[in-house]
């Protein structure tokens, strides 16, 4: 399924939040195997989405550059918001 840039970015934000929540839970319950398994599963899923985004639209961070050229500079900078047409 082809997703738009915005949809995929939202998916990334969603899964980043879920990972953050799981990390917080694990901080307080480090021996909970169910939570640790869940964390590993979601982390794998997160990697896939990051890769999908990086391949389709460019890197999310400079470390994610997958193309043969330095595509990081093609991305909008953090201070360039949607009003500048970066949707």
């Amino acid at each position: 399924m082809n997703m738009t840039r915005r949809e995929l970015l939202k998916k990334l934000m969603d899964i980043d939040f879920v990972i953050h929540e799981t990390v917080l839970y694990l901080d307080g319950h480090p021996n909970n195997k169910k939570a640790l398994d869940y964390y590993k599963t979601v982390q794998e899923e997160q990697k896939e989405i990051y890769n999908q985004y990086a391949t389709q639209f460019g890197p999310v961070t400079a470390e994610n550059v997958k193309q043969d050229t330095w595509t990081w500079i093609n991305e909008p900078w953090p201070w360039q918001n949607e009003r500048e047409g970066n949707e």
Binding site: D14, E21, T22
Partner: protein
């Protein structure tokens, strides 16, 4: 002693709880400068610096318990890793991965203290 050691009837031994006494406090704008300094622990005779130990001083009138006021007991249950949102998007929208931590604010008014 744990909660599980408590015998039935333990609460009865304490006697009936009395309602906390209501104290009329002046509004902040009604306080005089002297009262305001006193509340902030500022003693003009001592370099006008807030007294750091005033909250620990049992003789400080502000630290004494209101007559009839009962102690509070907090009980925080162990959080199980279940009842999760299956949709990551729902988790973000609700601000928690755990369904049972989504609490809707149901307060109706703010009480001035």
């Amino acid at each position: 002693m744990t909660l599980f050691d408590l015998q039935p009837g333990f609460e009865e031994d304490l006697g009936p709880l009395k309602p906390a006494q209501r104290i009329e406090c002046p509004r902040p704008e009604e306080l005089t400068k002297e009262q305001e300094n006193k509340n902030q622990g500022i003693d003009k005779t001592k370099n006008n610096v807030p007294d750091q130990n005033r909250d620990r001083d049992p003789n400080n009138q502000n630290n004494q318990m209101i007559p009839g006021q009962s102690l509070a007991m907090a009980y925080v249950p162990y959080q199980e890793f279940d009842d999760l949102f299956t949709s990551y998007s729902d988790a973000l929208d609700n601000g928690s991965l755990f369904r049972n931590l989504v609490k809707t604010f149901s307060g109706s008014k703010v009480i001035r203290r």
